[in-house]
Amino acid sequence: MRLYYEAGWEVPGLLQAAGKVPSQRGTLDIDGTKVEYESFTIRGSPGAPARTYRLMFLSHGSLSEHDRADYVTWQSIEPKSISVYRVGRKVIGAIVEGVVRFDADPKTGAGGTGGEVRVAYQDVDGSGRMKLALQNLPLDFRPEVPAWAKKE
């Protein structure tokens, strides 16, 4: 069975988690458009549960020479930093870096964290909702400037 991941999912509170004081600021020229970014470090509160959200991983693999499959797995991600990209005052996308946080084993209570992820989100239609654009980003990944953000 093939699964096509197209629509994306809304990630609640993603930008709100960024806080108010950026740790880094900068500007890029992306295809002739001035894009500003601000990076925020997310720190948890002592004693409080880690802030996590569910991330879907869609990957491809070969079952055999003739059969390919799309695999869908879900993991909880604890964001550690968010970089928010804007054109003027319009937020066009974000890059989230975080770690996989495992749910406690229901029998033993054992839990913890796993691999590091870098994922990119994009507001594709100007709705204000960030949707997953790309996982396992290339080092020099640059967000696209959607058409709605170029309009005055």
Binding site: G112, G114, G115
Partner: protein, 227 residues
């Protein structure tokens, strides 16, 4: 290169260590592991006339620290998450992220190796347009990350006679960071005593086995030696 220096880089934050959740009635309590007694191990090493340098827990490890370690120490142990993604059904780490760059596995577009630059806005701007170079490891290098076996081990130059220790992460590719840290600790403790990589790897494997009995994701994780 000194025969008596071991460097271990704990490339994570303390709050990412393993946890234990208990529920009594409606009350839920999460206890964070404190990790192994690294200071005690430093003292043990000193008695054996070995300098054990423990860096971290911290994610602020730069390229110079790693390359200096490969040049000056006989063993470099990296304990971290490993950056990557899920490929097929399991996690595959393909990078070790540094504060000023990354060490990245080869892929279709890059030969892999060390890339030094600036992290800006979640993106890396390389300091040079030159192709990455694979760092040459020392006598013993341990990659205690989630699934460092599939790709990470190929981002290093492994001279003849050197040993590269990796972890396959089992069926799902994941290994909890606290488990990796404990495994690295027991690997180093054994290595300080006997200088034998295989015996020390067996100690690390025993940690994985114990951890796999309480956490499904750590079950079946296996320490492997290259070549």
């Amino acid at each position: 290169m000194s025969a008596k220096i071991i460097d271990v880089f704990l490339m994570f934050t303390a709050d990412e260590r393993n946890t234990l959740t208990t529920t009594v009635g409606k009350k839920r309590k999460v206890v964070l592991s404190k990790g192994p007694n690294w200071q005690g191990l430093i003292r043990v090493a000193k008695k054996a006339e070995i300098t054990l340098n423990v860096y971290g827990p911290s994610k602020s490890v730069n390229a110079q620290a790693i390359t200096d370690s490969f040049a000056k120490s006989s063993a470099t142990i990296i304990v971290g998450h490993g950056a990557g993604s899920i490929v097929g059904k399991n996690w595959v780490s393909n990078q070790i992220k540094l504060s000023d760059g990354t060490i990245i596995a080869p892929d279709g577009t890059s030969p892999g190796g060390l890339v030094v630059g600036n992290w800006e806005g979640g993106r890396l701007t390389p300091a040079s347009s030159a192709a990455p170079v694979k760092p040459k490891i020392n006598d013993v290098t341990g990659l205690f990350t989630c699934n460092s076996h599939d790709k990470l081990r190929d981002m290093f130059d492994v001279p003849a006679g050197s040993e590269l220790v990796s972890n396959d992460g089992g069926k799902d590719g994941f290994t909890r960071i606290g488990t990796l840290e404990q495994a690295a600790y027991e690997f180093i403790e054994s290595f300080i005593r006997n200088g034998n990589v295989s015996k020390s790897a067996a100690k690390a494997q025993a940690v994985f086995k114990r951890s796999g009995e309480v956490f499904q994701g750590d079950k079946g994780d296996t320490i492997l030696l290259k070549p």
